[in-house]
């Protein structure tokens, strides 16, 4: 019995050793992979919040997440601003979005390859006010950038403009 217990203690220690070595190896491999790709984006953000005033949240996967300056905007997020609130976000291609009070705007599609600068943007606006200053995607292929409201489709020709809509 004693003998067996002793053996198992040794094997447990061995097992730990092997596990630690494995973990270290995986860690090193991951660090390697990260530096191979230039370790760019730590999270999968498609945009970054700049100005945040008052009550601003993103709806993400059924949850409401309060945001502050520097917070990420992810694909499919909906930005919602409260009364007397406002926010601005810069998307990865340099597109600047600003939202006025009582607005609800969804980043329905965003794809951007920074090496070729190709991609597409679809923004779906339920209500409120939005200003867009278009970025690299629109510069290269303006037809790839669209905003929809409940009544209209807005096509961009490389521009700075405001959209206001009521639900």
């Amino acid at each position: 019995m004693m003998h067996i217990r002793h053996v198992s203690a040794v094997s447990v220690r061995l097992l730990w050793g092997v596990l630690c070595a494995l973990l270290l190896g995986v860690g090193a491999a991951m660090a390697q992979a990260a530096s191979d790709t230039g370790a760019p984006q730590g999270d999968n953000r498609q945009g970054t919040f700049k100005t945040v005033q008052g009550e601003v949240v993103v709806e993400r996967g059924g949850k409401r997440v309060p945001v502050s300056s520097g917070a990420p905007l992810m694909a499919l997020d909906r930005i919602v601003t409260g009364p007397r609130s406002a926010a601005s976000v810069i998307l990865r291609d340099g597109t600047v979005l600003a939202l006025g009070p009582d607005s609800s705007v969804n980043l329905a599609e965003f794809r951007f390859d920074p090496t070729t600068q190709e991609g597409n943007i679809l923004i779906s606006m339920a209500k409120g006010s939005l200003r867009m200053v278009s970025g690299l995607i629109a510069k290269l292929k303006p037809e790839q950038v669209k905003i929809t409201t409940p009544t209209s489709v807005i096509g961009v020709r490389g521009t700075d403009f405001i959209v206001e809509t009521h639900s």
Binding site: T51, S69, G70, T151, R157, T159, H166
Partner: protein, 197 residues
Amino acid sequence: MRRLLVLVATLVWLLAGCAPATRVILLPDGPDAKPTAVVVSTDRGSQTIDKPYQSATVNAQGQVDSEQLRARDVRQRYPQLLAAQPPVSRSFTLYFKPGTSELADESAAQLATVLEQATVRDGGEVVITGHTDRVGTVESNDALSLRRAAAIRELVVKRGFDPTRVYAIGRGEREPVVPTADEVDEPKNRRAEVVVR
């Protein structure tokens, strides 16, 4: 009293009926920009607006019209929206010591300005895009340009800047400052553009 009520009711009805379901206003572009436009479409029609402060309106039935607004009215109508606009981005060009991913001396000094600028901005970001000359293949230059950008990214992160807001991008030989034939050694093209936004 009754007359007043009728008047108020009429006004409310008028305002509700007139308020467009969607309004789009074109803003003037910066001094360097080409003429631009926005196209607003519904099932019932479409309008192109291409003058500063020109506006397209869509009513609840999907009818599209356009009108000319004044700068002052637009500023008064959207004070909070316009105030939320982040400051314009700033660009820096950094150069490398020949054949390395190491910054030239004056460029290393500029990096301090980059960090300072990025730190004072709300949610500041540093976007580093590496470029190469045309010596070597497109693929090898994509890799080299990314290594150069990554080297600068490392420096920025080492100085304590939030790594999730520093990006390294390789543009390879696609965007030369001085256009050359293939395989030409051009030092001005071996650079990194750093945008602080």
